[in-house]
């Protein structure tokens, strides 16, 4: 039956080649967990140190009153992306793959389009004083980015995107609790999901 073994081996190889050439599979779950912790720390700092607690869509405060919050948000973003790149790099090299290939390029392009659109809108709204909408907008566009990106990496990322979109919509309706949904979306969901991805795709 060696012939049959050969054919089964053929099919296994076809499947693996299809997946490896179309999806970026070196994404690290642990970097998601860390990103969640950065986000929670960021939300906590914004809330306790700088009194960032929007209760209405339009704030009568000046946007510049919250400039520290923008700095915190950017720091969290840079830390999270940096961690993701380093962890993915380590995973890719340990599997003997390059991190910068056609799959990672495609993932990056598809994720960055909704992300840049959302970041732009968030900054515009912020400068016009619609501070209460920032958590919702960032969650929504991040969710869209994940949903699109899910096609180019682990499928489960799509579901994470849907969760973020739902949280974003709820945060838009209950503006007074937006900060909590922000912490849940970028913080707790990342931690839980990161652990799940880590266990599921260990090898």
């Amino acid at each position: 039956m060696s012939k049959k073994q050969d054919h089964i081996q053929d099919i296994a190889e076809i499947r693996s080649m299809m997946e490896r050439s179309s999806k970026f599979l070196s994404l690290s779950g642990l970097s998601g967990v860390l990103a969640g912790f950065y986000a929670l720390t960021g939300v906590y700092l914004a809330y306790s140190l700088y009194g960032f607690r929007p209760t209405e869509i339009i704030t009568n405060k000046q946007a510049s009153d919250f400039s520290e919050v923008v700095v915190i948000a950017l720091l969290v973003l840079i830390l999270a992306i940096g961690t993701a790149v380093i962890f993915s790099y380590r995973r890719a090299t340990s599997k003997g793959e390059k991190i910068w290939n056609s799959t990672s390029r495609r993932l990056l392009v598809n994720v960055s389009v909704p992300l840049v659109a959302g970041a732009g809108l968030a900054l515009v709204l912020f400068s016009k004083g619609f501070v209460g909408l920032i958590p919702s907008i960032t969650l929504l566009f991040y969710g869209l980015a994940l949903f699109t990106g899910g096609s180019f990496t682990f499928n489960e990322i799509k579901f994470l995107g849907v969760i973020q979109i739902l949280l974003g919509l709820i945060a838009a309706y209950f503006v007074e609790y937006a900060l909590i949904f922000w912490a849940v979306g970028f913080g707790f969901t990342h931690i839980i999901y990161g652990i799940y991805i880590h266990i599921r795709h260990k090898q």
Partner: protein, 99 residues
């Protein structure tokens, strides 16, 4: 229905050729270097196998220049797609019939 190994296309006997077809089945197109990386093949080896698939009419290429370096992108023809799917079906039938 009797399935024989003769139904399996000769072009797909090699693992590398099967790999090339698998990659091109899920990607619109792929350049030579990326293919080489995925398949872990040498330049000469990969070129020979691609040539064979081109002769069969399963794969076609687009040549262009990126930063003055020649860049060849390969894609699957409709004929190649049919042949590949047919091959997968035959493989599946053979495996099922021997259960």
């Amino acid at each position: 229905m009797k399935i024989s190994f003769d139904d399996l296309h000769k072009a797909f006997e090699s693992r590398i050729r099967l790999g090339i077809m698998s990659v091109l089945a899920v990607n619109d197109s792929m350049d030579f270097n990326a293919l080489k990386e995925f398949l872990d093949a040498t330049d000469g080896n990969l070129a020979t196998h691609i040539k064979k698939l081109e002769q069969e009419g399963f794969v076609e290429s687009n040549k262009s220049f990126i930063d003055n370096k020649p860049n060849t992108r390969y894609y699957m023809t409709a004929e190649g797609k049919d042949a590949f799917h047919n091959h997968l079906e035959v493989l599946e039938k053979i495996i099922n019939s021997q259960k």
